[in-house]
């Protein structure tokens, strides 16, 4: 996509097609010869695999699912018990969401660690944040569809976040919530529209992924050294080197995926969602799926409704500002001794927040009230981006950077590649 194309059609048919629709040229330049840094562990293939699995299993499940408040729960039970391989398709789809988030979180933390958001990759990073937000919305709506107790109350609590706007302009939030529900409470109309959007959004994600890859292929991949590709000796063609490497990692990922689906299919699920939705009784402990627990903990750590919602929204939107918050000229944390340590504190912080989110509001664990722990962890989450990133970028002395990727990967004596 950047630089001159090296594609040379070999047959009459491909020459004919190339002058009409250069789709083979696009494929050749983006996934065949695309120069990729020598030292990369790409997560792109795993994430593409996840999106593909979700779309394929989702389309098939939609052939059996009924988006009606009276029938949805039973139709899911029908899929689990009676539809041929329905149990497998649903478990792959529900656990696939968790695997997708697992992979995307590793991808995001790697991007943070290696400074992949820094110039000239800001737009690439922001597109990634948009994909992540779309994933959150899609996963949330998908979680509502089985219409169990957790589905119903997750829909209630999350859509009620909008009612906090009542504290800004009276009735504004309630009007929005009613509009989202199509009723005065979460109900049949809500379920129907969530199903419609849950089917739509993965294709929007696929489109933004296309932009994400496009934006990636203009400057090229960042890499764990965080230094630019300086010549042909620093890179390898995508095929066969990265197609083979990615296929190997997708294989490993698929093994973990299969262990979850076949040996612990309900491991990440909540047993309360096997109870049909009941609008009159809220489950005693209401928790979101694991991948949203840190944000849930931040929401709950604030005792004021509107500010709590602002903290939740702010924690997500902060991600889009990272390219302009990190003032260090060095990309990779391998060469940033102080930031490296604060980064790992941040990773632990996110795990602590996740743990707090999984406990009840008044829980005391390890002798500490969890709400206080969550407050401290929330403060660090925001401080990491808005204070630590700019300040450490100014005061830190980075280690010397290697001369080139080739020298670092192949050893200092290595001559430029063949």
């Amino acid at each position: 996509m950047s630089g001159p194309s090296t594609y040379v059609p070999q047959t009459d048919l491909t020459r004919w097609l190339d002058s009409r629709l250069p789709i083979l040229r696009l494929a050749h330049d983006t996934v065949w010869t695309f120069p990729t840094p020598r030292n990369l562990n790409a997560f792109g293939a795993i994430l593409t695999f996840c999106l593909g699995v979700q779309i394929v299993t989702g389309i098939v499940l939609a052939m059996h699912y009924v988006p009606n408040a009276g029938l949805a729960f039973d139709s899911v039970e029908n899929i689990m018990r009676d539809v041929n391989y329905g149990w497998l398709l649903r478990y792959v789809h529900s656990n696939g969401a968790s695997m997708f988030f697992l992979a995307v979180y590793v991808h995001m933390f790697r991007g943070l660690y290696y400074g992949s958001y820094k110039a000239p990759r800001e737009v690439l990073w922001i597109l990634g944040v948009i994909i992540y937000l779309l994933m959150v919305v899609t996963a949330f709506m998908g979680y509502v569809l089985p219409w169990g107790q957790m589905s119903f109350w997750a829909a209630t609590v999350i859509t009620n976040l909008f009612t906090s706007l009542d504290q800004v302009i009276p009735h504004l939030g309630s009007v929005i919530a009613t509009w989202l529900w199509g009723d005065f409470a979460v109900g049949d109309a809500t379920l129907n529209r969530f199903f419609s959007l849950h089917y739509l959004l993965p294709f929007v994600i696929a489109a933004v992924v296309g932009l994400h890859i496009w934006a990636l292929h203009v400057p090229g991949n960042n890499n764990p050294l965080g230094i630019d590709v300086k010549g042909p000796q620093d890179s390898l063609p995508f095929h066969p080197y990265y197609t083979a490497k990615d296929a190997f990692y997708v294989g490993l990922f698929a093994i973990l995926f299969a262990v979850l689906v076949f040996y612990a299919p309900e491991f990440v699920g909540n047993p309360d969602n096997n109870i049909p939705a009941n609008p009159l009784v809220t489950p005693t402990d209401i928790v979101p799926e694991w991948y949203l627990l840190p944000f849930y903990a931040m929401l709950r750590s604030v005792p004021q409704k509107l500010i709590g919602v602002l903290v939740l929204v702010g924690s997500l939107l902060t991600l889009a500002f990272i390219p302009w918050l990190d003032w260090s000229p060095v990309r990779s944390n391998r060469f940033r001794p102080l930031m490296k340590q604060l980064f790992w504190v941040f990773v632990v912080d996110c795990i602590v927040l996740g743990y707090c989110g999984s406990q009840s509001v008044d829980a005391v664990r390890f002798g500490m009230p969890m709400v206080v722990v969550a407050r401290v962890a929330t403060a660090y989450y925001f401080a990491f981006f808005w204070l630590i990133m700019p300040i450490v970028g100014l005061i830190e002395t980075p280690k010397p950077l290697p001369d080139s990727i080739a020298k670092s990967v192949l050893g200092t004596s290595a001559a430029p590649a063949e």
Binding site: T282, P283, R300, P303
Partner: protein, 184 residues
Amino acid sequence: MATTTTAEPTRRDFLYIATGSVAVVGAAAAAWPLIDQMNPSSAVLALASIEVDLTPIQVGQSVTVKFRGHPLFVRRRTPKEIAAAAAVPLSDLPDQLARNDNLPDDAPATAANREIKAEWLIVSGVCTHLGCTPTAFEGDYGGWLCHCHGSMYDTAGRIRKGPAPQNLAIPAYSFLSDSRIKVG
């Protein structure tokens, strides 16, 4: 066609603006049905009222009935609970408004403004934080505790502690007889 640049507005400028305006109005008019279809339909808006028979409810008991898709608490309070609610000074309340559809919007949240007959407390079962259903007889104030995020309500359904911003709403209702109410 030759292009000329003049300071004077031309007929062409007028046509651009007129055409653009029509396009914007047209797009908005076309978008509105797509937006408004998500609002509650006529069938949903045809709200029903319900009647609740109070005879089976014992003193100290709280029952939950479904009203317009939401839970509604009907609680027959003990004299102690009534006294506890009445003893709270207004200044202790995070939300100073009665939130009672039977009264004007600016009525203060006194215990008297939260009831029609002291023994019977009729309040919405929707936590004003994020819409969960609170559990009766729990929390520090003996009214309700919302397990979702820890909001606590007193025996008049008023918010006392936690993230919820408002008292539990009281719908319009009336006593048809001593043992029967009509809600809505």
